[in-house]
């Protein structure tokens, strides 16, 4: 199994964290906040957003009918959406069907611990009205968050 990249979107459609391990420069360390990922983030968000709205309409009763993963030609996209509007998105190969537990762990044990409980970090990354609706640029830069996320995901990165 191998993972290719990891993304977090907040409730304002902003990408607040991204990490890619497939970029050519240095595949072991990955890169943060690189310019070229901005476009990818928007496309990724758009695809998941529209699929979510379609699946919710397809639901026959009121029970949740959420997108868990999307398989496309080159990889599989795993999503985990929290009720607070956060999306955790992981791109991986086909070997493992579900990364739900991984994403859930990242939310409950890493995001909550190092971002929510950190009073020096904002809990809402859009500082004003202009930064909502996908116009935000602020990202999680917290070293504790990044290092524990890296330590957690490192064994899954492509060999």
């Amino acid at each position: 199994m191998a993972i290719y990249s990891f993304w977090i979107f907040d409730k304002h459609c902003n990408c607040i964290f991204d990490r890619e391990w497939t970029l050519i420069s240095n595949s072991a360390s990955g890169t943060i906040n690189s310019k070229q990922t901005e476009e990818t983030a928007k496309l990724l968000y758009g695809m998941i957003y529209s699929l979510r709205s379609v699946t919710q309409k397809l639901s026959r009763d009121d029970t949740a009918n959420d997108v868990r993963s999307i398989s496309i030609g080159k990889y599989r996209i795993h999503t985990y959406c929290t009720a607070s509007g956060l999306w955790f998105v992981l791109l991986s190969d086909y070997k493992q069907a579900s990364y739900a537990h991984v994403l859930q762990y990242i939310h409950s044990h890493i995001y909550v611990k190092y971002v929510t409980h950190n009073i020096l970090s904002p809990y809402d990354f859009a500082a004003n009205e202009n930064e909502t609706r996908g116009q935000g640029f602020r990202k999680i830069g917290n070293r504790n968050f990044i290092s524990s996320l890296e330590a957690f995901l490192a064994p899954m990165i492509a060999q």
Binding site: I119, N142, R143, N144
Partner: protein, 275 residues
């Protein structure tokens, strides 16, 4: 500080003094059971206290810092309004309108207030820290009452010398407030004490975006002031007036053998009592 003495070991032993101090002879057996009964009663009492989530409590405690800053901002606003000496009708009407505003505008988010506190001038900064110490002082006074009231057999208030008062703070107060004991207590036996807490609970997950820096340490420092106030409050309720007590918080390096915590520094509380 030449005659500083490490009394950490004895502090650990004090954990269960009824076991450690009394050699169990046949004559003592009756007393031992008496002691055990008291311990048991204390346990029952502590279990009967209402429980609160550690996380929620820590969040609330930490929110005191941005709250104090928000109070300072409001105070500043009021003062500047008075200064302006507004006689004209229009501004008065505007002010009255503001007063009848149903929901006043919210304070800025906490991280912004913390940043403002860091950037505030010294006078303002000190006023906020005083406010925090006062909050801690109140808590400290009440917590002594609670712990003494709980009929704690570990406490001997007949011959409470300074050292046992400090041990009381290190062990009982800290456990009540932070769910752990002070890691190390040092003293010169002349009224100076150093209390080391290598992983002070409230600040463990705090970090700025960049690498660990002096700025981060300075921004987190106000969060230590509540504990400073608590120490002064406890000492005041036991009979050391606040003007005789100097208590300062500072950072210390964590000893190597301690497991790595997420916050880079430990905390040292320097307590000086004049008698």
């Amino acid at each position: 500080m030449k005659s500083k003495e490490d009394i950490n070991q004895s502090d650990k032993k004090m954990d269960r003094p009824n076991v450690a101090s009394n050699a169990p002879t046949v004559a003592d057996t009756q007393e031992m059971t008496e002691q055990q009964k008291l311990q048991h009663q204390l346990q029952i009492f502590q279990n009967s206290l209402p429980k609160v989530s550690q996380t929620a409590y820590m969040m609330l405690l930490n929110e005191c810092v941005p709250l104090s800053m928000a109070v300072e901002r409001k105070r500043g606003d009021c003062n500047s309004k008075l200064d302006r000496n507004c006689d004209d009708e229009v501004s008065q009407a505007g002010e009255q309108l503001q007063k009848i505003h149903v929901s006043p505008p919210l304070d800025p988010p906490s991280h912004q207030l913390c940043r403002e506190l860091y950037e505030a001038d010294e006078e303002k900064h000190n006023r906020v820290l005083d406010r925090l110490r006062n909050i801690g002082f109140e808590i400290g006074n009440k917590i002594t009452e609670l712990l003494v009231f709980s009929n704690n057999p570990n406490l001997q208030f007949k011959d409470m010398d300074l050292l046992s008062v400090m041990k009381f703070i290190c062990r009982d107060v800290w456990r009540q407030m932070f769910n752990k004991q002070i890691d190390n207590l040092k003293t010169n036996h002349r009224g100076t004490f150093y209390l080391f807490d290598y992983d002070y609970q409230p600040i463990q997950s705090f970090a700025l975006d960049s690498e660990s820096s002096e700025k981060e340490l300075q921004m987190v420092k106000p969060f230590l002031e509540i504990a400073v106030g608590v120490i002064k409050g406890v000492l005041a309720s036991i009979g050391h007036a606040p003007e005789d007590v100097i208590c300062l918080a500072s950072y210390v390096d964590r000893p190597d053998e301690k497991p790595k915590a997420s916050f880079t520094k430990g905390v040292s509380f320097h307590v000086q009592i004049t008698m």
